[in-house]
């Protein structure tokens, strides 16, 4: 039997995952359809969603499979596309101190742009822990796997663009970005990162712009904070 406290954690985690699921279902279906068209069977599609579990990398991989690419270039591309998770896991580690290797390894599997954004906000609010976060991760994971397999049977069961469902994830990201703003310096870092990302995305292929822009903006944020703190100390001292 599951400890009643754990089962309420489980429910909260599953319940909190709904915006991600709402976004994953249409994207997962679309991915399944594309993968089906590239010649993959529903089981092959499900296997990729289970092993890789990363939307944009899977889309790129399927288009490379469709154009007859070899295995190694696809794996290398996947690696660069998913390197951004390095930043997200680093940031999450602050909230997962002193956890065993087992739970951490399971947690790592579920780190995506979406689960990172949602869990990070919850952790910061303080009413969240790794069990709830893990339940959220695995719910989103299940929604992804199942919807890609269903799409793989050739069905775009939700008509493209219906009910503005394509905007579920952008709206979620916008809201979670707002939640991350806790002072002027965060606005500066966010605006800088966004503008740098746009500029980099125009000049560099792929999605390396995400890591480049975030690292630059966060580093500048640290220097700005140091600079402001120094200014404050010297005025207090005088």
């Amino acid at each position: 039997m599951l400890n009643p406290a754990y089962s309420s954690h489980l429910k909260e985690g599953i319940g909190a995952a709904w915006p991600i699921c709402l976004g994953y279902v249409p994207i997962g279906l679309a991915f399944g359809v594309l993968a089906h068209n590239a010649g993959l069977s529903p089981w092959e599609i499900g296997l990729m969603s289970l092993f890789v579990y990363a939307g944009s990398a899977q889309f790129i991989a399927v288009s490379m499979i469709g154009s007859g690419s070899a295995v190694i270039p696809i794996i290398l591309t996947t690696f660069t596309v998913n390197l951004r998770h390095l930043l997200m896991s680093s940031s999450l580690a602050v909230y997962l101190q002193r956890l065993g290797v087992g739970p951490l390894s399971l947690y790592a599997y579920g780190v995506t742009d979406e689960s990172f954004a949602l869990n990070m906000t919850r952790f910061r609010d303080g009413d969240w822990d790794w069990r709830r976060a893990l339940a959220l991760n695995q719910t989103a994971n299940l929604a992804w796997i199942v919807s890609t397999i269903i799409g793989g049977y050739g069905g775009q069961f939700i008509p493209a663009g219906a009910f503005g469902i394509d905007y579920a994830l952008p709206a979620m990201f916008i809201c979670l970005l707002v939640f991350q703003i806790r002072g002027g310096l965060y606005v500066v870092v966010a605006v800088l990162s966004g503008l740098l990302a746009v500029a980099f995305s125009l000049f560099f292929p792929g999605n390396t712009y995400i890591v480049m822009a975030s690292v630059t903006a966060a580093t500048l944020g640290v220097f700005l904070r140091k600079w402001f703190d120094k200014g404050r100390d010297s005025t207090e001292g005088s």
């Binding site: 709402l22 092959e44 092993f51 794996i75 390095l86 896991s89 390894s105 579920a168 966004g194």
Partner: protein, 107 residues
């Protein structure tokens, strides 16, 4: 199922899993210096902004600027709504509804 394909998804899985796993294992068991904590504290805002803004103002591959598109237009009231209400559920629903309407006017 072809063994080639199995090798492919295993390889993709490993190179995706490692960047997710390594920082969690190493950073969660060491005392982080203050500057690193501050840096990591800025990462969510920076990453989210870097994910969103290019999606709102660029299109195509290779990307080019497309400022006049429903996604950007809708993002402004969505952002204001999120700021005022601080409700995730409300923001997602309002954003979807506005996008649905905006796309009908654009196309």
């Amino acid at each position: 199922m072809k063994t080639d394909y199995l090798f492919l998804v295993l390889g993709m899985g490993i190179v995706t899993y490692l960047p997710r796993w390594v920082p969690l294992i190493f950073l969660s068991r060491s005392r982080l210096p203050e500057w690193l904590r501050q840096w990591l504290d800025f990462i969510p805002a920076a990453v989210l902004s870097a994910l969103i803004l290019p999606a709102l103002v660029t299109t195509g591959e290779p990307r080019h600027l497309t400022v006049f598109q429903p996604a950007l237009l809708v993002s402004i009231p969505t952002l204001i709504f999120a700021w005022k209400t601080r409700s995730l559920a409300g923001t997602v629903i309002i954003g979807m509804a506005l996008f649905w309407v905006a796309r009908r006017f654009f196309s």
